[in-house]
């Protein structure tokens, strides 16, 4: 018994060491994923932010084509980084709606003039209500919505070049 006990401290040390090494190699994932994935898109009615573009009204767009819903803001720097990828997605035939979080008409117009405009509709989410009701915890985030109006995928953070095929595949699957 005593002989075995002598190994106990070393055993404990090995366990703690393994935990620390694991934490260093694979830092914990602090992303908060939406619990709405797999559920129908909540009813959203957001006024238009730009004079020449519709706002978001989910009751009018419930059926039909699968769509992407991009949560963005002109004050968000990763949103600038993902803009070219959104343009690529649009060129590949994706329909992209947007929720502009806590933004102004002028700022968004300037943002779109500089970075391109991939959006079909842009809803004004001044008080983050739509963002909260989607379970989104930051900008940018992108939701994939299937033809029945169910959220099937959530991409957290900026879309990089390597994410484009994945999102296109998700859209294809959502038909």
């Amino acid at each position: 018994m005593k002989k075995l006990l002598i190994w106990l401290p070393l055993g404990l040390f090995v366990i703690v060491f393994a935990l620390v090494v694991n934490g260093l190699i694979e830092p914990s994932d602090r992303l908060v994923r939406s619990a709405m994935v797999g559920k129908p898109l909540p009813a959203l009615r957001l006024p238009p932010l730009l004079p020449d573009k519709d706002g978001i009204d989910t009751s009018a767009t419930r059926s039909g084509k699968p769509r992407m819903l991009n949560v963005f803001a002109s004050w968000c720097i990763p949103c600038v980084a993902e803009a070219p990828q959104l343009m690529k997605l649009k060129q590949a035939g994706a329909e992209i709606d947007a929720i502009a979080v806590r933004d102004t008409t002028g700022d968004v117009q300037a943002f779109l003039a500089r970075n391109g405009d991939p959006y079909t509709r842009i809803g004004d989410d001044r008080a983050m209500r739509a963002q909260l009701s989607l379970g989104s915890s930051g900008v940018p985030e992108t939701f994939v919505i299937d033809s029945r109006g169910v959220i099937v995928d959530q991409h957290i953070g900026d879309i990089r070049a390597e994410d484009v095929p994945k999102l296109l595949a998700a859209l294809e699957k959502a038909k």
Partner: protein
């Protein structure tokens, strides 16, 4: 001169990755009814800020925490029960959003472990005291 420049550096604010829009009125204004405000405050203290995880939305100055406070106050003011508001957020963000985790198979060890440890402690203590008496 150098010192002056250094002081100028200190004046420069942090770079902000937040909106320049003013927050919703209820983010930083208490409700008029003290009872409702107390309910809302108690709820806010047990909701996680999703941007600055580890803080509650009552403690955080992040944009999103402010809007979550506004949402909580608005719903409480409209007569909704705090438990309903919490449930609404859990439906969207999962149990992670609340510091008061609901009882489920995943959280069962959290609730049962302290009781089990206390029980084991009592057993050990009883055995030790008995031996001493003998």
């Amino acid at each position: 001169m150098r010192r002056g420049l250094f002081c100028l550096l200190l004046i420069a604010g942090a770079a902000h990755a937040d909106s320049s829009l003013p927050p919703s009125p209820l983010a930083y204004t208490q409700l008029a009814d003290p009872a409702q405000e107390a309910e809302a405050k108690a709820l806010m203290e047990t909701l996680r800020c999703l941007v600055c995880q580890g803080q509650s939305i009552a403690d955080s100055d992040a944009d999103m925490a402010g809007e979550m406070r506004a949402l909580v106050r608005q719903r409480i003011a409209a007569g909704e029960r705090p438990a309903r508001v919490r449930q609404w957020l859990i439906e969207r963000y999962g149990d992670y959003v609340t510091y008061d985790p609901p009882f489920s198979w995943v959280t069962a060890p959290l609730w049962i472990a302290p009781l089990a440890l206390l029980g084991i402690g009592v057993l050990i203590a009883r055995r030790l005291f008995r031996r001493r008496q003998a």
